[in-house]
Symmetry: C2
Subunit: 571 residues, 2 copies
Amino acid sequence: MRTSKYLLSTLKETPNDAEITSHQLMLRAGMIRKLASGLYTWLPTGLRVLRKVENIVREEMSNAGSVETLMPVVQPSELWQETGRWEKFGPELLRIADRHDRSFVLGPTHEEVITDMVRNEIRSYKQLPMNLFQIQTKFRDEVRPRFGVMRSREFIMKDAYSFHLDKDSLQETYAEMHTAYCNVFNRMGLDFRPVLADTGSIGGSGSHEFHVLAQSGEDLIASSTDSDYAANIEKAEALAPQAQADAPTQEMTQVATPNAKTIADLVSQHGIAIEKTVKTLFFKASDEVEAPIVALMVRGDHELNEVKAEHLPEIATPLEMAEEADIRAIVGAGPGSLGPVGLTVPLIVDRSVAVMSDFGAGANIDGQHYFGINWGRDVELGQVADIRNVVEGDPSPCGQGTLQLTRGIEVGHIFQLGNNYSEKMKATVLGPDGKSQVMEMGCYGIGITRVVAAAIEQNHDKFGITWPDAIAPFQVAIVPMNMHKSERVKDAAEKLYAELTAAGIEVLFDDRKERPGVMFSDMELIGVPHTVIIGDRSMDEGNFEYKNRRTGEKAPVTMENMVEHLQSLIA
Amino acid sequence: MRTSKYLLSTLKETPNDAEITSHQLMLRAGMIRKLASGLYTWLPTGLRVLRKVENIVREEMSNAGSVETLMPVVQPSELWQETGRWEKFGPELLRIADRHDRSFVLGPTHEEVITDMVRNEIRSYKQLPMNLFQIQTKFRDEVRPRFGVMRSREFIMKDAYSFHLDKDSLQETYAEMHTAYCNVFNRMGLDFRPVLADTGSIGGSGSHEFHVLAQSGEDLIASSTDSDYAANIEKAEALAPQAQADAPTQEMTQVATPNAKTIADLVSQHGIAIEKTVKTLFFKASDEVEAPIVALMVRGDHELNEVKAEHLPEIATPLEMAEEADIRAIVGAGPGSLGPVGLTVPLIVDRSVAVMSDFGAGANIDGQHYFGINWGRDVELGQVADIRNVVEGDPSPCGQGTLQLTRGIEVGHIFQLGNNYSEKMKATVLGPDGKSQVMEMGCYGIGITRVVAAAIEQNHDKFGITWPDAIAPFQVAIVPMNMHKSERVKDAAEKLYAELTAAGIEVLFDDRKERPGVMFSDMELIGVPHTVIIGDRSMDEGNFEYKNRRTGEKAPVTMENMVEHLQSLIA
């Protein structure tokens, strides 16, 4: 490709409305342009990367035995009504009406459509397992689209769905998909981590997320210092710091704490160690509980894990804080003075809280705390559960090492759905016994457009993007110095361009009438991994200059060896 | 690919709701499934063909210097308001509202979006010409979607747009696109024809359609017996059959024709030759004319060409027949008795009518005709124009040979748009003189999904589809006879499958436990061009059997030569 025939569209200035690095660099490198909130046009440089990501995913999915299909973007509402998601899904599901006023959605996902197709096409267990994927445009009407294509409204997903006679077969395919995903991200040259994940609203029994590791990642990942264990912080199990509580050493005393509204106040004003404090939080109760609200307790220096809390059968879904008026009516005090002693509603304490002794908590009297509380003696220990976020240094739940926290960007997610959808949609096959049987399902997603942004968050420097070779928009840049004045430089550049192109290498030949500085900074910004600089001075010595984008290293390479040199680097 | 791991989904019966061959065969061959009216899922076999079509188009567009980009499916209404198409476009334009109640459309085409992008990115004539294409999902809310993917609501288009400083540059790119389109359809192995086309509602000055020739085609194409001239019947110029009218030989006489309501009645009841009759049709007039209606006359055996009629400045757009009440009020008679004599509204006659003599026409008195009418003597010749459809045997407007009519399916369309969009959207560049200048534009479409259906209309027989090699879902089928009983057959089939796959050939290996007849008819139905039959009997003689899908010819090929034999056929 010659830059003169190409839409390079690089920008010198960083656009004001781009908050994160990948968004800034994608705009500056001429990869994307905003059409409207959450809607982006992919300019040629961006699309070249996108297609590479897409092709790697397509090849690895095919290698793993998944068969490609393509389902419509527009889906009839009837299928969403069958699974109940027409009602359950929030306004992210964009509902539309056609000219005949029939209801449709712009598909944010395709469980309903694929399950409908498979229940029509697959009749016998002999056709199972079946694993189908597509790479298709999706739409999710985010309330606040942001970070460019990291959280856009229109985006491209690879979504795969597998169908099985039983759970063993599902687990086998799930493991194959886990391997395929590792192959995908390894081939792209990304530093990633598969982590245990919560199954969330899609439901099902097992799930892993695939995260590209990057300091700017929205997600926290907890991983063991000594093993392969890694989990999303939502999912990472928090063990108790010790096996059981120490024996009491203090009497329980009531202390006036009129100015202590927070844990920090309590610590600073009353000299109590933060590890000896607790937070008591009230949530709306589920139907399983007689009381309208339920109390949860975590240590003062810990954070409640809302996902774990929501999974408690005693708690209403979705998780909702209790109203202060309701708390006051039942407990007799308000936030800042709440605690376990004398509580009449169900109490669920975190594992770390269950092994505390001589601790302080609100007295359920405004402006009063108890210090020196001990379980059993002063108050019955409620139900114990894991309801907090892990912190650095916690023992790893795998039993080896301690947990460390890193940040990641979720780019893939695999689920064992079980029969969540297939049962509602009556997706059955005839089993070996001739009886109709509901299929087990798995689903497997990769955010194709998001991978591009995540790769940039992980691979950039102050000059621009530092693409891994496999997903770079071009493999080689040719930067000729003063080509429009020097015939010799022009001829050499044209010859090298022709040779590299003939060798199947993707070359961006900068044939613009621009100053060398402009060309260098453009090639660095868009992140071409290998650059050949052609100039009269080095040609006098029979050389071109090679420059590596990632390391910045420069070295002369003889003119006749340059093609071979590049081929060996790219292979 | 092994059929056992694949979603073959062939059907024995032809579905009732499929009217045309390609739709029937795409359903039977397991290529598509209907999700809702005008919405289709592409099953694996269909998608394989679709991707081949897509890749050929992508490669040839890139070879011709067009650069790939990707614009959103969902487009903001503001851009459509800028060009006035928000109002002009009918209900085919699906308008939607997002969660914030902002208006969007599901894009049926992308002129607005690309022009917006280019006006932002391209500032100088030095960056021109620029040719950009995308392959993207489109939506057109057809009132009556039909014929499967031939006229669906959601479909995939390749659309390209070029931008120029002047018309010469536009014409150069237009010619390159014409060549690229010929390359595309030649590579696909399709019998096609580029034809002159009307520019229709998109406007602009020059246009060609590309038609796949097929008896079932919706469009009529007129082409010269002796030259390259070909045009859509909407556009094909109709010359007069002779240079001027013969001299009168009859007096004009009034004839009572109370039972002649049609031209056919007139011919059968009154013995007048059909070539001596005319049809006088009234349409609503444009503002250019004082009268509310205008009369058009074509010969009794000819058909009015509505597209040509609509282009007359005297006629209102869109073309609309005059109300009978209005005709009666002005002319004094109704349909069946209308004619030129004594007419007080503007009269436009077809070229063929202008050279008639001694002809019959309605007398503008109910139940009465005049016979023996001659121009000049009996009535002034009105304005003369080409307003009829050509017929077989008409002289070709190119001056060589006569016209013949064939049927085609439109799969591509190229336009010289001029500055239709760029002017409304103020898409300008700085010209060489430093002054701002509106760009000239071209646009170039190929219906990717439609090509698949059109290829089937052209390539099928009673057994199923007869794909050209370049777009067949698989190149080779391996059909082993009784593989599940014969170890030798199984081993040979597995070996051949491995060898062909290693040679980069796309093979469908039918490893199902099915009767040979089922396998043969499935492979014929989906149209794999080359089949290898492996059986004990031919292996006794050291052979496999080769079968050609298109010719039906079978021939033994030695086992060791089969890979080479297939490679030579495919190359």
